[in-house]
Amino acid sequence: MMDRHWTAEDVERFADGEASPEDDHLRQCARCANAVLATAQMKRAIRDAMDVGPAPASLRRRLTERATAKWWIVAAAVVATIVVLTPFLLHNRSQPALPELVDMHVTMLASTNPVDVISTDRHTVKPWFEGRVPFAVPVPDFSSTPFRLIGGRVAYWRGNQAAYLLIGKSAHRISVFVFRQENAPKFLGQSPPSVSTLSWQRDGLTFVAVADIPPADLAQLRDAFNPR
């Protein structure tokens, strides 16, 4: 066994640190020892020749610095979102609603068809809203008041559904917007001088009345909606 020469595989396994025959033979056989030495030298030469050095700093940076870049992107996105959304948020929170409602009132009155249901009968108008707005619209009995019902329609204010009632008082016409409280304007603001406005709440609904009549007359209308 001792004097049997190693195979090429034995030599390479030995040089590679893998399981190989006992090395007794190498001590006695210059030829096999030389083969092992040559293989070891070759391994070292290959190692030196294949060494391309450390990864470029640019690559390391690509792998590591994008973390920072990403957080910048996220931060920038957050800032951009805030910047974009802020006007809307502020708009919804603090822009007064009354000027818009007054504009709607004026627009309705200027329209040839200010209402979709035309009826002086509250038993016609009230059921007309069923299925059109997600709440029951109170339509009072105006028979013992100076007001008269003209009709109603569905209105939208800042994406929120509202019931719109058009009510007459002699030659004047009054718009009454009825919102569910959670969708109602939070901040009404000042009424433009050209009109009177009045807002009240009842049974989870918010009412906003707009008309070119004295405020006292609007209070009277409110009382018609809120019978004692």
Binding site: A8, E9, R31, V36, M42, A45, L63, A67, A69, K70
Partner: protein, 192 residues
């Protein structure tokens, strides 16, 4: 740190950001995989033979490693795992498909029982070889031989680890490595 690399175009910022679980996962992947950067780059260089391609390959491998980190068994060989990912990424790339011949290089009969002869003129030539001409000789080899030389002689991987990295039997590692060295000797002596 490395988490950044892993912000791939496919991941949307909003989805990607703040899940603590992900961050913990990345942390440990980073710890395990970042120390392998030089080795992976070296491997990538010898697979692609192109510095730019190598950088892209390494980056993609890290990205895939991060994404597939769930499949890594803790305590198992991260180097073999990452090398395998890098290699698979290369093989499915365009230059990888060009580089690997459709027929296995291991089909040829082996000369394993050949008696060792360390005194061949080739190996003496090799001993005197300068690194540059040897590097050129290795570069000319098919990719399967280049990589096995790198894994054994540069990375000092055991046959078992090489087998794991290349997904081949250990016997194939032995014979492929022998044939690779044989080819280096031959190619190199031809150059001189």
């Amino acid at each position: 740190m490395i988490a950044g690399l892993f912000s791939s175009p496919r991941q949307l910022i909003g989805v990607e950001v703040l899940r603590m679980e992900d961050r913990r996962e990345r942390q440990s992947f980073e710890e395990l995989a970042l120390p392998l950067l030089d080795s992976l780059y070296q491997y990538a260089r010898w697979l692609t033979r192109n510095p730019t391609e190598a950088e892209d390959l390494v980056q993609e491998a890290y990205l895939k490693g991060l994404r597939g980190f769930d499949g890594f068994i803790p305590g198992s060989n991260i180097r073999a795992w990452m090398f395998r990912i890098l290699r698979n990424t290369f093989l499915t790339s365009r230059s990888g498909l060009r580089a690997v011949p459709p027929v296995s290089l291991d089909e040829e009969p082996q000369l394993l029982d050949e008696i060792a002869d360390g005194a061949t003129p080739e190996s003496h030539l090799l001993q005197r070889a300068d690194a540059e001409s040897l590097r050129r000789a290795i570069e000319e080899l098919p990719v399967e031989f280049r990589e096995v030389l790198l894994l054994s002689d540069v990375e000092d991987m055991s046959y078992k680890e090489i087998a794991e990295t290349l997904s081949i039997p250990i016997g194939t590692v032995t014979s492929r490595l022998m044939r690779a060295r044989q080819k280096v000797r031959k190619a190199f002596s031809g150059q001189r």
